[in-house]
C-alpha cells in the first residue's frame, strides 16, 4: 500500500492510502472524540462528534469516514469544533433521559465520559422529557430506550458480526426507536441468540445485563476485535 503525507494539527505525518483521518490520528496519539464509531463495525457517521476541519472544505468533515489524502491539512480541534462537539453532547443529553445518578452505567459510560472530557457542565437546550419505555422482557438482558443515543452499534453488530439482525430502527427523526424483530418485545424475539454482543458494545446504559444496579454495568468491548481477528485468521487458513 502506498504511503501518503498529510498535515495533522500542524505536523507532517505519513499514513497509508485508504486510512481514515481518525485512524491516522489515533496512530499518532491524537484524540478525536467518537461515539457511533467502533473499530470493527461499518462506519455510519451519525453522531458527528468526530468532525474535524480540513483546509479547503467549506464544512467540517467526519474523521471516522473521511479518507486521509495526500497533502490534506487537518485540524482536529478548534474553538468552533469544540463548541460544536459540546453542543452535540448537550443535544444528546437533552434528547432523552440521562440521569447518571440512577443509571447502571454510571462511571463507565461513553456519553458521560465525553461530556466530562468536553467540559459539559450544563445543558443549554430544553430537555425533551420523552417518556420512553423499558423492555425487560428478555431473560438476561434489558433495553432502556431512555438511555439510547441511536448510535446503532447494536444494529450493526447484530447484523454484521452475529448475523442475526435482531435489531433495527423504527420511525424517523426524534421518534426513531431501536426495535427487535419487526417491533416485538425483545423477549419474544426469535432471531436473538442471547449472545450479548450488543449489550457489551452499547456505549450507554441503554442495553444492560438484568440485575445490574447503579454503576454496576462495566462493559467489555475488546472482544470485538479479538473475534474479528480470529475469524480473519481462520478465513486466511481456509483460502
Amino acid at each position: 500500500m502506498s504511503a501518503i503525507t498529510l498535515t495533522l494539527n500542524e505536523e507532517l505525518v505519513t499514513a497509508r492510502q485508504g486510512q481514515t483521518i481518525l485512524e491516522v490520528a489515533r496512530e499518532h496519539s491524537i484524540h478525536i472524540p467518537t461515539l457511533c464509531y467502533l473499530e470493527g463495525l461499518e462506519e455510519m457517521g451519525g453522531c458527528r462528534l468526530c468532525m474535524v476541519e480540513v483546509q479547503g472544505s467549506a464544512r467540517p468533515v467526519p474523521a471516522c469516514i473521511t479518507k486521509a489524502q495526500e497533502g490534506m491539512v487537518v485540524a482536529t480541534d478548534s474553538e468552533t469544533i469544540t463548541e460544536y462537539r459540546r453542543m452535540i453532547v448537550e443535544l444528546l443529553l437533552a434528547e432523552r433521559n440521562h440521569t447518571c445518578a440512577v443509571c447502571v452505567q454510571n462511571g463507565s459510560c461513553e456519553l458521560q465520559t465525553l461530556a466530562a472530557r468536553l467540559g459539559v457542565d450544563h445543558v443549554r437546550f430544553d430537555y425533551l422529557h420523552q417518556q420512553l419505555s423499558m423492555d425487560a422482557s428478555r431473560e438476561r438482558f434489558a433495553l432502556d430506550h431512555n438511555r439510547c443515543v441511536l448510535c446503532l452499534r447494536c444494529v450493526r453488530t447484530c447484523d454484521a458480526v452475529e448475523g442475526a439482525h435482531t435489531w433495527d430502527v423504527r420511525g424517523r427523526g426524534v421518534t426513531s426507536r431501536i426495535v427487535a424483530d419487526l417491533d416485538r418485545p425483545w423477549g419474544e424475539s426469535v432471531s436473538c441468540t442471547d449472545c450479548g454482543k450488543c449489550v457489551q458494545l452499547c456505549p450507554t446504559g441503554a442495553l444492560f445485563r438484568k440485575g445490574a444496579t447503579v454503576g454496576e454495568m462495566v462493559k467489555e468491548r475488546e472482544f470485538l476485535m479479538r473475534l474479528l481477528e480470529r475469524r480473519r485468521a481462520i478465513q486466511g487458513r481456509q483460502s
Binding site: 457517521g45 458527528r48 467540517p60 467526519p62 469516514i65 437546550f125 430544553d126 427523526g173 426524534v174
Partner: protein, 572 residues
C-alpha cells in the same frame, strides 16, 4: 418501429389534428380534476355523441395548462383563429360553448381569459411545451408533436460521447436543487466502470408548495421517458427507474400507461427504434418521506432498504444501485433533454443568463393573483415573475417576501425584487433555486412564523440518523415557538443562531444542512421582526399569539403578588 415509421406516424397525427375544425382541450391536471374537470369532459363527450360525433370535432383531456387556481380550464382550438382559454368552466358552460359552435353562433365571452394575458405571454415553454396540449395517456399525440424524434436522432446519428457533450454544451444544470452540471454528471457515469449501469429519475418532490414534477409526470410522461432513454444510451445503461412520490397516484398511473405504450410502440424496451440499444423503465413508489428525495436515500429505498442517506463520496455516479454507476437526475432535468436535441444545444444555451441556462418551471403560490405552474427563462427578475406573470398581490397589497427552495431555501425581501432568478443570484441572497417552489408573501405573513413552519416540517422529516438534524431541528423549533408565543428570553436568540450554524455545518445530508436556511435567511433580512418578538413581545404582522409570558416576567409577577399579599396581610 423504425425511425421512418416514427416520422410517418408523426405526420399522420399532424394531418389528422389539422383536419379538425374544433378541438376542445379540457385540462385534467390534478388541480383541475379537483375542480371538476372530469364532469366537464364527460358532458362534452356526451354532447358530441348526441350530435352524431362529427369527425371534425374533438374533445381531449389534457395535462396541466398552468393557471391552476382558475380551473377547470377549457381551451378552444379553431382553425385559423388563436386559441381561446376559458376559466372556471362547469359542465353546462362547456356544453353551451359546444352548442354555440354547433349553431354556428359566436362563442360566449363569459369566463374567457384575455388573449394577451401576461401569465401566458411572458412564459417560455420548453419543458412544458406540450403540457396542456396533448392527452398524456395517448402516445400518438406526443409523437404527433415531435415526440421521440430526439431519441431517434440521438440513436442513429450520435455516439454516446457526443450525446454527453451535447448536454454539457447546452449548459443544463440539475433542476432538483443542487444545480450540478448535467453533462458532467452524464460523463462521469459514462466513464464509470461496472457490470451494469442505471438511470434513475427523481420524482419524489416532497417540498411543501411544489408540484412542478408532479405536473410534468402527469401531463407529459413521455417527455420524461424520452429524456431517460437518451440518458440511458449516453451513459450505457439498460435499466431505468422512476421514483414517484407515494402521494402522486395519478402520476404513477400515467407513467405506467406511458411505459406500456412506449414499449408496445418500440420506443422503449428491447431494440429501441430498431437500434441495438435496449432500455427498460420501472416505476418505484415512495412511501412518503421527504428525505427519500435525497439521492443516496432514494437509491437505498429503490433497493428495498430503509430510506436513509449515507455519506458521500462515493457519489451515485461512482457507486449507486447495487454498487453500480448510477445516473440520478430530477424529472424536470430529464424533461429538458429532448428539447436540447430538437432545438440544438447552442439554441438551448442561448436561453437564460450567466451560468444558468434554459428555463425553469416554478410553482407560483401564496399571496399572488395568478397562482399556478409557470415556466420562465432563467434570469428573469423576480419582480416580473410576481407582478407580470403572477399579476401582483391580490388587492394591490404590498409585497413582503418571496420564499424559494422550500424547507431548504430562504426568503427574498422586497428590496431584492429585481434580482434575476438563477442559481447564483439566489444563492447570494442566502436562498436557493431548489426544485422550484415560489411562495409569495405579503405584509400579513410573519417571518418568524414562516421559519417555524419550515422547521416543523424538517423536524418531522428528519430521518434520525445524525444527531444535529434529529435533535437540533426540534430544539430550533422550540426556540422559534418561544419567540412566537412571547416567552423567549434574550439568550434564546443567541442559542438559536448558534444551533442553526451547528446543524448547517455538521449534519450528514442536505436535509439537515439546509434545514436552518429559512431561519438564517429570515434572521438576516428580517432581524427586526425577531427582535420585536423578543424585546417588545409583539408580532409586527399580527400572526403570533404572544400569549405565554417569559419565565423572568412570571417570576417578577409572582414576587409582586407575594409582596402585595404581605402588605395587605392576606394569605398568599
Amino acid at each position: 418501429m423504425t425511425r421512418a415509421e416514427l416520422a410517418e406516424l408523426a405526420e399522420k397525427e399532424q394531418v389528422q389534428r389539422d383536419a379538425k375544425k374544433l378541438r376542445l382541450l379540457v385540462c385534467c391536471g390534478t388541480p383541475c380534476l379537483a375542480a371538476g374537470s372530469e364532469a366537464v369532459v364527460a358532458a362534452l363527450r356526451q354532447k358530441l355523441a348526441e350530435s352524431g360525433s362529427p369527425a371534425e370535432l374533438e374533445v381531449v383531456g389534457t395535462g396541466c395548462l398552468g393557471p391552476c387556481s382558475r380551473g377547470p380550464l377549457v381551451t378552444v382550438q379553431r382553425k385559423g383563429t388563436p386559441d381561446m382559454v376559458y376559466e372556471r368552466m362547469d359542465p353546462q358552460q362547456a356544453v353551451a360553448l359546444l352548442d354555440a359552435y354547433l349553431a354556428a353562433a359566436s362563442l360566449p365571452q363569459q369566463n374567457l381569459l384575455p388573449e394577451d394575458l401576461p401569465f401566458f405571454r411572458r412564459q417560455q415553454r420548453v419543458v412544458l411545451q406540450t403540457c396542456g396540449l396533448i392527452d398524456p395517456e395517448d402516445i400518438q399525440q406526443y409523437i404527433g408533436h415531435g415526440g421521440y424524434e430526439a431519441l431517434a436522432q440521438v440513436l442513429h446519428e450520435m455516439t454516446p460521447e457526443e450525446v454527453c457533450d451535447g448536454v454539457t454544451a447546452s449548459g443544463l444544470r440539475g433542476r432538483g436543487g443542487g444545480g450540478y452540471s448535467t453533462g458532467l454528471k452524464w460523463q462521469l457515469v459514462q466513464k464509470g466502470t461496472g457490470s451494469r449501469k442505471f438511470v434513475v429519475a427523481n420524482g419524489d418532490e416532497g417540498d411543501p408548495g411544489a408540484y412542478m414534477d408532479r405536473s410534468l409526470m402527469e401531463s407529459d410522461p413521455h417527455r420524461v421517458l424520452e429524456g431517460m432513454a437518451i440518458a440511458g444510451y449516453a451513459v450505457g445503461a439498460e435499466q431505468g427507474y422512476i421514483y414517484v412520490r407515494g402521494e402522486y397516484p395519478l402520476a404513477a398511473q400515467r407513467l405506467k400507461t406511458a411505459i406500456r405504450d412506449a414499449e408496445r410502440m418500440g420506443v422503449l424496451g428491447s431494440r429501441v427504434l430498431d437500434s441495438n440499444f435496449s432500455f427498460r423503465v420501472d416505476i418505484r413508489i415512495g412511501a412518503g418521506a421527504f428525505v427519500c428525495g435525497e439521492e443516496t436515500a432514494l437509491l437505498a429505498s429503490i433497493m428495498g432498504r430503509r430510506g436513509q442517506p449515507r455519506i458521500r463520496p462515493p457519489y451515485p455516479a461512482q457507486s449507486g444501485l447495487w454498487g453500480c454507476p448510477t445516473l440520478i437526475n430530477n424529472v424536470e432535468t430529464f424533461g429538458n433533454i429532448a428539447a436540447i436535441f430538437t432545438m440544438g444545444p447552442a439554441a438551448f444555451a442561448s436561453i437564460g443568463s450567466g451560468k444558468s441556462r434554459g428555463t425553469k418551471v416554478f410553482a407560483l403560490c401564496g399571496e399572488v393573483c395568478n397562482t399556478g405552474l409557470i415556466e420562465v427563462p432563467m434570469g428573469m427578475p423576480l419582480r416580473e415573475i410576481i407582478y407580470d406573470i403572477g399579476g401582483g398581490l391580490p388587492g394591490g397589497a404590498a409585497f413582503k417576501a418571496a420564499q424559494t427552495g422550500g424547507p431548504s431555501g430562504g426568503c427574498i425581501p422586497a428590496s431584492k425584487l429585481d434580482t434575476p432568478v438563477d442559481y447564483e443570484h439566489l444563492q447570494e441572497l442566502g436562498s436557493i433555486m431548489g426544485s422550484g417552489g415560489l411562495i409569495v408573501m405579503g405584509e400579513k405573513s410573519c417571518m418568524v412564523d414562516v421559519a417555524r413552519f419550515f422547521m416543523e416540517f424538517c423536524l418531522d422529516e428528519s430521518c434520525g440518523k445524525c444527531v444535529p438534524c434529529r435533535t437540533g431541528t426540534i430544539e430550533i423549533y422550540r426556540l422559534l415557538t418561544r419567540l412566537c408565543n412571547g416567552s423567549a428570553a434574550a439568550r434564546d436568540l443567541e442559542n438559536l443562531e448558534k444551533l442553526c450554524h451547528l446543524v448547517k455545518d455538521t449534519s450528514l445530508c442536505g436535509l439537515g444542512s439546509a434545514a436552518p436556511n429559512p431561519v438564517l435567511s429570515t434572521l438576516h433580512w428580517f432581524r427586526d421582526e425577531y427582535e420585536a418578538h423578543l424585546t417588545d413581545r409583539r408580532c409586527p404582522a399580527g400572526v403570533c399569539g404572544m400569549d405565554v409570558k417569559p419565565l423572568h416576567l412570571m417570576a417578577e409577577e409572582l414576587l409582586q403578588r407575594v409582596v402585595a399579599s404581605r402588605v395587605n396581610g392576606e394569605a398568599f
